[in-house]
Each structure stands twice: as structure tokens, then as C-alpha cells.
């Protein structure tokens, strides 16, 4: 189980590191992608486009490196839930937009991103579970 957890941590941390990195390259592009969802007031779009990629990068690094891993998993799990709600809402409204999850590299239809995020959410939930409950002895190296 230990190597599975390690592998999945590497995968989840790596995904957020790459996703954040691709968006940091062009925050203006990412801001447009967020705006297309029509979920946030315009004044919140720019600041979120500046902040969110760095939060993904820092939490991705924390999941990979170890310090604050559980906290980073909590943040990434919450973020992924928010992404799922946003993508599902855009999909249900029939918006002709792309997710923007991987910056300019996002070209897949929204339904694919929804499935991807649902799988990622399950992986993060499982990692949170194997990392143990607060205060309990760890079942493996953290």
C-alpha cells in the first residue's frame, strides 16, 4: 500500500505543479478562462488568476516534498471540489468554453475535464485517508 500511496502522491502533486506552472506562464489568458465561466464578479477574476496557480504550485510541492502534506491535500481536495462544481455548472449551462485547468494547453471538452477532476478528487480523498486522522499514529512514512 505504501508504494501505491507514494505513487499517487507523486502523481497528484505533479499534476497540480504542472497545472499551476502552465497557468503562471500566462495569467491574463487564465483570467479570461475564469471569466468565461460567468460565476464570479469581474473584479474577482484577475486576482484569482494571479493567486490560484501559485496556490496549486505551493500545495503540489508540499504534497511532493512532505512538509504540510496533509494540509496541502486538504487545500487541493477543496480546490478540486470547487473545480468540479464550476465545470459541471458550465457544462449544464451549455457554455461553449474550455476548462482552462492546464492553461493554454486545455483543449479538451468540458466533460473530459469533469471526469478527470472527479478521478483526481477520489485520489486526493484516498491520500487524505491513508495519511491518517489527526493525532493517530502514521501507517507509513510521511
Amino acid at each position: 500500500m505504501n508504494w501505491v500511496a507514494r505513487g499517487l502522491r507523486l502523481l497528484a502533486g505533479g499534476i497540480f505543479l504542472v497545472a499551476g506552472g502552465l497557468k503562471v506562464v500566462d495569467p491574463a489568458h487564465f483570467a479570461a478562462d475564469i471569466d468565461h465561466f460567468r460565476l464570479l464578479p469581474y473584479f474577482a477574476v484577475g486576482p484569482l488568476a494571479l493567486y490560484l496557480p501559485w496556490l496549486e504550485i505551493i500545495c503540489g510541492l508540499a504534497v511532493l516534498a512532505g512538509p504540510a502534506r496533509r494540509s496541502a491535500l486538504v487545500v487541493l481536495f477543496a480546490l478540486t471540489l470547487i473545480f468540479i462544481v464550476a465545470i459541471a455548472s458550465a457544462w449544464m449551462r451549455g457554455l461553449d468554453i474550455r476548462c482552462g485547468c492546464f492553461g493554454a494547453a486545455s483543449t479538451a471538452p468540458l466533460a473530459y475535464d469533469l471526469v478527470f477532476d472527479l478521478v483526481l478528487c477520489v485520489v486526493l480523498a484516498w491520500l487524505l485517508r491513508v495519511d491518517g486522522r489527526p493525532g493517530s499514529p502514521p501507517s507509513h512514512n510521511v
Binding site: 495569467p27 484577475g46 494571479l50 493567486y51 501559485w54 496533509r70 487545500v75 483543449t107 493525532g135 499514529p137
Partner: protein, 151 residues
């Protein structure tokens, strides 16, 4: 701090969550300050003028049509004479647009339908970054064009 050999307590986790949230602010602020592609910050979405297809076709020449859809969709079919300019490959496509564009031209930008925003984004960038006036967005986009061809 977490005790050695034990998982962090709920309070530790919460404190570190707050720390991660604050930590991300630092590079975000630097990005807002220094990044050459930082987003525009403002209270209101920049306004663009939308035109129905009949009004767009009735614009006094010279008019240039801009296809803001992805490359593959442009390749599959576009308004005759339209130049491709989308946000995904903005830097690569812009020179071709500038070759075709002449000062004084009216620019009509379109994407797929009423439910896409790519044309709006391209129109805003043309107006703000290139200081081009007379930029319009086609209501209904490519779908409206196709519908009109059927009639």
C-alpha cells in the same frame, strides 16, 4: 508542532492550511507587479459592441473579419476572407492579422455561437492592446453565419 511519530493534530492542519494560503499570496503579488502577461484588474468587464449579422454585413467597407475560434475549427470552415486570430496562438497569429489589417478598417470578430466568449476577448485585446477602434463582436458567431447561408 506535530509530535514526532504522530500525525499532525486538527489544529496543526488548520494552521498549516492558513500558512499555505498566505504563502501563495507572496508570488501572486510579485506576478501582479512584474508579469508581462498579468491580467487587467478592474471593477467592470470591458464593454464591446455587438452586431447582428445583418448589421455586420451592412458595415461600410473596408471591413476585416476575424475568426477567434481554435485553429482546427477555422480550418474546417470560416467566413470567406476571415483572418484567424485566437487567444491560444495570439503571438503567432497576430502578424498575419496585422498584414491584412489597414488603419480605418472595421473589424468584426466572431466565435462559434452566442455561448462563446472568445470573440469578446479577442475584440477587447484588439481594442486595448493594439488601440484599434471600430472593433465589433458578431452576435451568434459562426452558427449565425451558417444559419444565414441555409436561407
Amino acid at each position: 508542532m506535530a509530535r514526532v511519530g504522530m500525525h499532525p493534530s486538527g489544529t496543526d492542519v488548520c494552521r498549516k492550511v492558513a500558512l499555505l494560503l498566505v504563502l501563495a499570496l507572496v508570488p501572486a503579488l510579485v506576478t501582479a507587479w512584474l508579469h508581462p502577461k498579468r491580467p487587467a484588474l478592474g471593477w467592470a468587464r470591458p464593454a464591446v459592441t455587438e452586431l447582428a449579422l445583418a448589421d455586420a454585413l451592412g458595415l461600410a467597407p473596408p471591413v476585416i473579419w476575424v475568426d477567434a475560434r481554435p485553429d482546427d475549427e477555422y480550418g474546417a470552415g470560416h467566413v470567406p476572407g476571415a483572418v484567424s486570430l485566437n487567444e491560444d496562438r495570439w503571438d503567432a497569429l497576430l502578424p498575419k492579422f496585422l498584414e491584412a489589417w489597414q488603419p480605418g478598417m472595421r473589424v468584426v470578430v466572431y466565435c462559434n455561437s452566442q455561448r462563446c466568449d472568445a470573440s469578446r476577448e479577442v475584440a477587447v485585446r484588439l481594442r486595448h492592446e493594439l488601440q484599434i477602434d471600430n472593433v465589433f463582436v458578431l452576435q451568434g458567431g459562426w452558427n449565425a453565419w451558417l444559419e444565414a447561408q441555409k436561407k
